[in-house]
């Protein structure tokens, strides 16, 4: 991927920016073509998962793999639900506050584990997500216990409004990440991923950049979690379960880690595959996980890498 960028220099920058603009036009125009509540619901889920996968991907630039992304979703979702139910605050307040709470979680876990090399970070994120899940399951009545909290006020009055809110949020995150990845901040993150020792030798405070990336990642995931709570009008412990963290990770990895386009491809592909196999009933998840495992074994660098290769071959030939 990198050699390809080097080869074409700035051209690919504009080509990719043009691609993103086309993509956002399609996303914004989708409700004109797609009718019906179910399909809108699926498209909303796609947007939500793309946001999660993209936010997960920020840290992936540094080569660190986060297994507990659901921690942010759960923490922010519950914050939003509690503020809304007990204090009566609206979505415009609970969404940012949820994001901040999730960001603080990221700051804490990042400060403790990201200063260490080795497998500490991944394992600890895994454990933390499960701890939060366990805590929420046994939580007192104010937090709803195992059933979670219901009756959170809706985000928008209509399904179309929800779709546009999630779509615009998703596009904002994608464009933000796109420009961040090309800023010096993004370049430093990538250099840490390529060779951490060399970056440290060049006078970069790698711990600071890794923790900053993790905090940003958590904040965005938190806002997405709060949004999900408001749209689904409930918060349940399942939001913090590591299964969601694994799902987000699979989306980003199947699409292509540490690229902007990869998580978008992964988010859409996996959500649609997941919905498409609904008719299989009980076997759905088996087929789904089997497909993901197969895709990962065939294309460990992600679907994006395969697209690029095919694209390059076609371009070189013509």
């Amino acid at each position: 991927m990198n050699t390809y960028q080097d080869l074409f220099g700035l051209t690919i920058f504009y080509r990719r920016l043009r691609g993103l603009v086309i993509f956002s036009t399609i996303v914004l125009m989708a409700p004109l073509v797609v009718k019906g509540g179910y399909f809108m619901e699926v498209l909303f889920l796609c947007n939500y998962y793309v946001v999660l996968a993209c936010s997960w991907d920020i840290l992936a630039y540094t080569g660190k793999v986060n297994f507990g992304h659901s921690l942010f979703v759960g923490a922010a979702g519950y914050t939003a639900a509690v503020l809304n139910l007990h204090l009566g605050w609206g979505p415009w307040l609970t969404l940012p506050i949820g994001g901040i709470v999730a960001g603080l979680f990221g700051l804490f876990i990042g400060t403790v584990t990201l200063r260490l090399r080795g497998p500490y970070f991944g394992g600890v994120t895994f454990c933390f997500a499960m701890l939060l899940y366990k805590l929420l399951c046994v939580s007192p009545k104010t937090l709803g216990g195992e059933e979670g909290l219901t009756g959170v006020s809706p985000l928008m009055s209509s399904l179309l409004g929800n779709y546009y809110f999630s779509a615009i949020f998703m596009l904002a995150v994608v464009f933000l990440l796109y420009f961040v990845s090309r800023s010096s901040f993004g370049i430093i993150l990538r250099s840490i991923g390529e060779n951490e020792t060399a970056s440290e030798g060049s006078g970069i405070n790698t711990t600071f950049y890794k923790v900053a990336a993790f905090t940003i990642s958590g904040t965005i995931a938190g806002v997405a979690g709060a949004m999900y709570t408001h749209i689904m009008m409930n918060a349940s412990p399942a939001m913090a379960h590591e299964a969601l963290g694994s799902l987000v990770l699979m989306m980003a990895v199947v699409g292509g880690m540490a690229s902007i386009i990869g998580p978008i491809i992964g988010g859409y592909t996996l959500t649609i595959i997941n919905e498409a196999f609904r008719f299989m009933g009980d076997l759905r998840l088996l087929i789904y996980t089997g497909l993901v495992l197969g895709m990962f074994l065939v294309a460990p660098k992600g679907l994006y890498d395969i697209f690029i290769r095919v694209f390059r071959r076609v371009v070189v030939r013509t």
């Binding site: 497998p119 500490y120 499960m130 399951c137 299964a243 009980d282």
Partner: protein, 288 residues
């Protein structure tokens, strides 16, 4: 007094099971640098295979335990050779692969075959022994003895046999061991097999005292990770000691407070260790 004794007995049982899991986890981590997130799945498959052989096929206890352990060891070796071998140096790839394989795919396979309901295996042996006014079943003694025997056998295997020595050689210095003519790919495969077998054996031992269900792979995995972090990465003695301490404190907490808080113990301790002494309590240095 009897409360103390029951905490001790239950704690020892779980300590034995945790040690088997954690020793396998730390073995493959130390030798090949793989953070094997499929380790919990190996434990789960071990328990389910024990259920299959003992409760469905009605085989002999010893034979079904051997078959279950051997089956999981083969699965581990296949995972190592097919999935991990092409990416021996890429640790991020390995964790993602083992996560997708163990925590999602294996769980769904088990769910598709056995369903979501918990499965329980009948007792290995019946009868009990009276000790200080308390009845301890032979079952519990058997679990403890079996775990002690297996860990000692592993110790002898690594210290005395040729393959075991080559495993510890690769752990200490891979390049030097290659120069000495050790076939390191085979060592990795065997280590993965042993590690998977240990997890499966823990699952077999736990199968009569817990219910096997598709979600059971997560907590052993977290506990193994926490034990290994607290004990020091790659340290087998540390893993055993911390497993026992963890099991005793968990049993005490669930006896005094509630079983729901037992899982907080290891997480709190792990965070403290990471802040204060990231190399673990026993081992000095070697953090990469």
């Amino acid at each position: 007094m009897s409360a103390l004794l029951s905490i001790f007995v239950l704690g020892t049982i779980w300590g034995a099971i945790y040690s088997l899991i954690a020793v396998g986890f730390t073995l493959i981590l130390g030798v090949a640098g793989i953070v094997n997130l499929a380790h919990g799945a190996f434990y789960m498959i071990g328990a389910y295979l024990a259920y299959t052989f003992m409760s469905i096929l009605k085989l002999n206890v010893v034979l079904s335990a051997l078959l279950a352990v051997a089956g999981v060891a083969v699965i581990g070796m296949i995972l190592d050779q097919v999935g991990i071998r092409p990416f021996r140096e890429n640790h991020a790839y390995q964790v993602v692969l083992t996560l997708i394989f163990g925590q999602t795919f294996c769980r769904q396979v088990i769910y598709a075959i056995y369903g979501a309901h918990g499965k329980s295996v009948q007792n290995f042996i019946n009868g009990d022994i009276e000790l200080a006014g308390m009845y301890i079943s032979y079952q519990k003694l058997l679990i403890i003895c079996a775990a002690i025997i297996v860990v000692s056998l592993l110790w002898i295997f690594i210290k005395k046999t040729k393959i075991g020595k080559s495993i510890s050689a690769v752990e200490q210095n891979k390049v030097a061991s290659i120069l000495m003519g050790i076939r390191y790919e085979r060592v990795y495969m065997i280590t993965m097999g042993i590690s998977a077998a240990l997890a499966a054996f823990a699952g077999v031992l736990a199968s009569p005292i817990i219910e096997a269900e598709p979600g059971m792979s997560s907590f052993p995995l977290f506990k193994a990770f926490a034990i290994v972090v607290i004990g020091g990465l790659g340290s087998m003695g540390g893993a055993i000691i911390v497993s026992l301490l963890l099991a005793y404190s968990e049993t005490a907490v669930s006896y005094l407070l509630s079983a729901n808080y037992a899982d907080m113990v290891y997480l709190t301790v792990m965070i403290l260790i990471l802040v204060v002494r990231p190399t673990g309590i026993l081992k000095a240095g070697r953090m990469n």
